[in-house]
């Protein structure tokens, strides 16, 4: 049998023996690392859960998606954001007609309303859109049909319901074919949208009613301008092109020079995505550093206890040295103790962290995502902390003079 390995086995045995003889102290020392690792894992799970759900929503919207917002207007030299939109339905039509990189365009007007169907009522928002809207949002219908261009032209009183609204107003029946009243105007339900879920900002996207924008502007709002124009580029890599074309066209139509501030804003899904990604990254960094600090504090706890332990066991070290332990044996023993404490602490911390993130997912309802990567990283980091913070006390123990150590009271 290999003597070198037997020696290693002996040192391991010695290290484990002294952990076993001081169970309470070992457990308390471990606690710091346990909490640290559990913290890292739970924090990373929450942070990456948040960012992956944001990413999923952005992907669901489609990456060729653009929005044109009304911006500031300049009237009599004062720049201001006018409440009334300066984007017209004609602007939307012009974008569709003149921008080759644009596939779909939908003007949109929005209003909040109390909606009544039979004896039930529901407060929601009514979006007036064009027939391209389902293609722009990649949003299919679960029941019925979307309204037609003819409906838009003639401002027909038809509505497509989001799933939440359909469930609220028609809990026991099919919504399609029923009638509801929006601001006392009767609307015929022609379709129900598929369930979409919560948005990036946490709103329920299914809590909405979709109607032809002409109907919304004329019959519900009484003015003809569009609040937002939704645009889809032909493909994701032509989004920039589409943006430039729209910018040029609208400046022309609104008589704004190339160097002047535009009275509209164009935002691509990508820009909104990168904003969301940046904020979720900030969240990750923040949570991660809080967790890393707690792990560091755990490591300092190990060093503290190991230093106390070396002082307390000076005599033991002296005895071991007198009967033939070399400096490196003592170094290995104390280092091994520190590493075992941090590794075992790390393993318990992993279990605790995984359990904590499951609890967070269940009771707080936050999305959590937990890969092998962060778990392995937290574990490796814990082991490294054991080595790093265990080394100094172990070094001190191994440098003791056996005579002084034996005399120590």
């Amino acid at each position: 049998m290999n003597i070198g390995w037997m020696r290693v086995a002996n040192i391991v045995k010695v290290g484990l023996q002294s952990i076993g003889r001081n169970k309470m102290r070992s457990a308390l020392t471990m606690l710091g690392i346990v909490i640290g690792v559990a913290c890292v894992i739970a924090m990373v799970a929450v942070a990456s859960g948040a960012s992956s759900s944001i990413q999923a929503q952005i992907d669901a919207l489609g990456t060729n998606f653009l929005m044109v917002f009304p911006g500031t207007t300049t009237s009599s030299g004062a720049r201001m954001f006018s409440g009334a939109s300066n984007l017209s339905v004609e602007d939307a039509a012009a974008i569709r007609a003149e921008c080759p990189a644009v596939a779909y365009v939908s003007a949109s007007a929005k209003t909040s309303a109390q909606v009544v169907a039979g004896e039930l009522n529901w407060a929601t928002q009514v979006q007036g859109v064009d027939v391209d809207w389902p293609f722009i949002r990649s949003w299919n219908l679960a029941e019925g049909d979307f309204f037609t261009s003819a409906d838009v032209r003639s401002a027909t009183k038809v509505a497509v319901l989001g799933r939440t609204v359909a469930d609220a107003l028609f809990p026991n029946a099919r919504a399609v074919g029923e009638t509801l009243r929006i601001k006392n105007v009767p609307f015929h339900v022609v379709g129900v949208l598929e369930r979409k879920g919560g948005s990036t900002m946490g709103q329920d996207q299914d809590d909405t009613i979709i109607a032809p924008y002409t109907t919304v502007t004329k019959r519900l709002e009484g003015h003809a301008n569009a609040a937002i124009i939704y645009v889809a580029a032909i493909s994701p890599n032509r989004v920039g092109e589409a943006k430039n074309e729209i910018d040029l066209l609208l400046r022309q139509r609104h008589r704004i020079g190339p160097r002047q501030d535009a009275d509209f804003m164009i935002r691509s899904q990508e820009e909104m995505a990168s904003t969301a990604a940046a904020s979720s990254k900030t969240l990750s960094v923040l949570l991660g550093s809080v967790a890393a600090i707690s792990l560091l504090v755990g490591g300092i706890g190990i060093m503290n206890i190991m230093l106390v332990s070396v002082t307390e066991r000076t005599r033991e070290i002296g005895i071991r040295m007198a009967i033939g332990a070399k400096g490196r044996h003592v170094l290995a023993q104390f280092l091994l103790e520190a590493v075992v404490l941090s590794v075992v602490g790390g393993l318990i911390g992993i279990l605790l962290g995984v359990a904590a993130s499951q609890l967070i997912a269940r009771y707080a309802g936050w999305p959590v995502s937990l890969g092998a990567g962060p778990i392995l990283m937290a574990f490796g980091f814990a082991a490294l902390i054991g080595i790093f913070f265990g080394f100094y006390p172990a070094r001190r123990a191994s440098a003791l003079d056996p005579i002084d150590a034996l005399r120590f009271e």
């Binding site: 003889r21 005895i319 005579i403």
Partner: protein, 249 residues
């Protein structure tokens, strides 16, 4: 296993050993030109009042410390020139320590205490070999059946027997006992000295440091120290033979 040797070559050979400690500005000559030769199979008592240099001598013989000047040869090895790690190896292989306060590891069974030197040794590498050897040693000092006891569960005399078993487990060239009976009453002291005498009769070289003349009389030869020098070195004329209470196989 028996103590190595048989031919009467010198086991411990100290030549002009000087040990100087510097305490702040003051130099203390703990050993001031000591020359001493101890042969295999001897039982030597080193006597002297505290501060006479006997503990310093014990540290040098036990390879815990190095002389400032002078030469120390232990079993053919020039121990005065060894580095820290080499001295640790020599301590492990050639020297068995018995201390005044036993120096057993607390919360550790007698068996584990006795096995301890083997963990730092190249010999007896398997756990079962170590265990067999340690049990044999415990049996030899009359502690068969107590291998699972911890030091706190043993009397002073029993603890010192465990310490002797631990000192013997690597089959060392010399057994170095520093005030082995200092913490024990006279009856138990005699039992411990009986163990040392018996081991000596079996051929083991024993060096015991003591300040009690009664204890020194169990040895065959007494070396007396004062102020870092040897003041007398003579055989024991009225040697005491310790009463054995228990058989020490």
């Amino acid at each position: 296993m028996s103590a190595s040797g048989g031919s009467a070559h010198s086991f411990v050979e100290l030549t002009d050993i000087v040990k100087i400690y510097t305490l702040g500005e003051v130099e203390v000559r703990a050993l001031d030109g000591v020359s001493l030769t101890i042969d295999a199979g001897e039982f030597v008592a080193v006597m002297g009042p505290s501060g006479s240099g006997k503990s310093t001598l014990m540290n040098i013989i036990g390879c815990l410390d190095r002389p400032t000047t002078g030469r120390y040869v232990l079993d053919g090895i020039d121990a005065s020139s060894l580095d820290k790690n080499q001295r640790a190896e020599v301590r492990n292989a050639k020297i068995g320590f018995v201390f005044q306060n036993f120096n057993l590891l607390a919360r550790t069974t007698a068996l584990e205490n006795v096995e301890l030197p083997l963990l730092y040794s190249d010999r007896l590498t398997t756990a079962s070999e170590r265990r067999t050897r340690a049990l044999e040693m415990l049996h030899r000092v009359g502690l068969a059946g107590r291998e699972g006891h911890r030091p706190s569960q043993l009397s002073g005399g029993q603890q010192q027997r465990v310490a002797i078993a631990r000192a013997l487990v690597t089959d060392p060239a010399i057994l170095l006992a520093d005030e082995p009976t200092g913490n024990l009453d006279s009856r138990v002291s005699e039992e411990i000295m009986a163990v040392l005498q018996e081991l000596n009769e079996q051929g083991r070289t024993v060096i015991a440091i003591t300040h009690e003349p009664d204890i020194a009389k169990f040895a065959r030869r007494v070396v007396a120290f004062r102020d870092g020098r040897i003041i007398s070195d003579q055989p024991v004329s009225d040697r005491r033979i310790a009463q054995r209470k228990e058989s020490v196989a």
